[in-house]
Symmetry: C2
Subunit: 190 residues, 2 copies
């Protein structure tokens, strides 16, 4: 997706350990016009697959998921990162490791919002090692729903996520695939 | 806003301590079509005030803020609830108490995304005691930006938030104001 890659090149910041920050339009400040175009692109790629729900994880996945849900005209569910006083006990849960933060967290989805009749599209902002998508896929499996695929905004192609997910039969569509980050310079595969 | 109130009456769940859950369309599962209408309504109410940025807090405020930013054609910034390994030190911060959860948390906004040239609209899903808006207003003040007002989806009119914010000169627009919750029955002021 050219307009996305242009923004990554223009505004992306590279940090030690192959960390890329796109806080100016995706992860902290959000450009709603760009995110709407991303939603349209996911709709173009997954619109003929009978998606009944979009699933993501709070917080950075939410804008993209909401715009994708709007284009597909289906509800969006976001997995919550920790149990709050306000959520009932009746939940699916899974544990997700974060390589960036070096932590593990439990994510939950209420059993009310996923069922064995659903066809679920996972949407997320980044794909690196694939742990977030695996956690969401685990929740989808628990619910008995079908996993249609995973729509990723930015994939780190030099990490194992896409290979890992594809080997499990998960259809992955990434809008920008970063091939390498050499001396702070980002280059793309797709 | 009639379609919002109808959804609250139809799907809202009341719990002990005047807690209302609208997890089926706003806080866990999201109805993007309704949220888009909410964004349009905030645009109608604040569109002539020169808003340059929409500010909210992760996670539940994000969908509404993104749709409002789309309608106003301005960027959206979401305050993050805790310091992550991925955010720089160069931040504005404020502490927010949650009456629902009985906790206090620090929220941060990078100094890159708010400046004294900005005219900021705060958007949030709920207004109860007003602590979240006060925390965001504090961050706006630190940045030197102007606070245009606060757009609230659901106000608990029987709590002190609106009165507190209004007495500080903050213009509050709530799309649904709950007057009371008696024996699980919700009634509205507006």
């Amino acid at each position: 997706m050219e307009i996305l890659k242009e923004r990554i090149l223009k505004e992306g910041k590279v940090f030690h350990g192959n960390v890329i920050k796109v806080d100016s339009f995706l992860n902290h400040q959000i450009d709603p016009v760009l995110i709407k175009e991303i939603g349209k692109e996911f709709c173009r790629r997954f619109g003929d697959r009978g998606v009944s729900k979009v699933l993501t994880i709070e917080a950075s996945g939410i804008p993209v998921a909401v715009m994708t849900g709007l284009e597909l005209n289906v509800p969006v569910v976001f997995a919550k990162k920790q149990k709050s006083a306000n959520i009932c006990e009746n939940v699916f849960s899974s544990t997700i490791k974060s390589f960036t933060k070096g932590t593990a967290s439990t994510v939950i989805v209420s059993k009310e919002y996923l069922s064995n009749k659903d066809r679920v599209l996972i949407v997320d902002d980044f794909l690196a090692e694939g742990q977030a998508v695996l956690g969401l896929a685990d929740i989808i499996k628990q619910s008995g729903a079908s996993l249609v695929g995973a729509g990723i905004v930015i994939e780190k192609g030099f990490q194992e996520g896409c290979k890992r997910l594809t080997s499990m039969g998960i259809h992955v569509e990434s809008l920008a695939v970063i091939k390498s980050i050499d001396e702070g310079k980002i280059s793309f595969d797709i």
